[in-house]
Amino acid sequence: MPSSDDDESIEGSERLFVRLPADTAHVHYDTNRGRYRVASGALELEPDEDGVSVFLESELPEGADPKIILDGHPGYLLGWFTAADVRSASDVLGLRRDPNPADAPPHPCSNAHAIIVGLETLTKNPNHKARSNIAKKSYLHTDPDEPLRRVGG
């Protein structure tokens, strides 16, 4: 059962894009799944955040490549997973539309902004587990310029 705060109008197949700052700091290569992906630590909540920021693909400017989300954010990478991935990661997780957030400068994709809610209700281990579940389903839309070492990850 998803969070009571979950916006069910966001379909499970909806792709959710997430900005990943600091170059490759939050991504790694997953040998089990054969691809680069988002690391679960990238989905932690910072103290001043209500939820993990994502962008709804269906609300992006018509015809735009999702890379437009990184306009004004040089050096960021772009990851994605689906709304269903979030809801299946933990019973308490859901999605809430959050267009044009007041604390963010205007951006062509502001209208597509949403947040993952519910992580703040989870204690340490369930929180890590939920983020890990989402991250394992994730992909990178923009590959790192230089391949990360294909090591244990």
Binding site: P21, A22, D23, T24, A25, H26, V27, H28, Y29, D30, T31, N32, R33, G34, R35, A39, S40, G41, A42, L43, E44, L45, E46, G75, K124, N125, P126, H128, K129, S132, K136, L148, R149, V151, G152, G153
Partner: protein, 174 residues
């Protein structure tokens, strides 16, 4: 030089040296959660006993510089805790973990290889949390260090032995 694995050495005053040094580096001086100059302490790592150490520290080195350039938090104490945690259990031929930053300034060591998903994450002022999933058998558990030392050691033995045995990767894992 400081041996990162020597608790006596770690308690001694540290000499900071510029980051562009031949020696492997770590960040063992005053802890901080704010971006810092990438000044570092020298350490010694035995490349024979711990062949995973060189690439692991190279990645940690890279992350510290990324954190500095991007003004992201980088908690050296959390990094040190993470290194200590995995050093206790890794065997010489344990695969090198992937290392990433957490958003809160900690660090995370991951093994997603040979059908095992193992994550050890350390955030500032917190004990390491551990997530383990054996994809083939479906066995999974969550834990914390140091309380789940035995399970973490067994998980890393599993990873090491499967890689040593040339574990074949079923396509269903993708």
């Amino acid at each position: 030089m400081i041996d990162i694995f020597d608790p006596v050495a770690l308690s001694a005053p540290l000499t900071l040296v510029p980051s562009k040094t031949f020696w492997r580096r770590a960040w063992l001086d005053d802890r901080t959660v704010s971006p810092v100059e990438p000044y570092v302490a020298r350490i010694m790592v035995d490349p024979v006993d711990k062949p995973w150490a060189e690439p692991m520290f190279a990645r940690i080195d890279e992350l510290s510089h990324l954190a500095y350039v991007w003004r992201r938090p980088f908690d050296r104490q959390a990094v040190l805790s993470a290194v200590r945690a995995v050093d206790r259990f890794m065997q010489p031929d344990t695969p090198v973990p992937s290392v990433t930053l957490t958003k809160l300034g900690g660090v995370q060591f991951d093994w997603h290889i040979a059908g095992i998903d193992l994550e050890i994450a350390v955030d500032p002022d917190d004990d390491p949390t551990v997530i383990f999933v054996d994809i083939a058998t479906g066995r999974e558990w969550e834990g914390q260090l140091p309380y789940d030392d035995v399970e973490v050691k067994a998980a890393l033995v599993d990873v090491t032995e499967r890689v040593r045995a040339g574990f074949a990767q079923p396509s269903a894992f993708v």
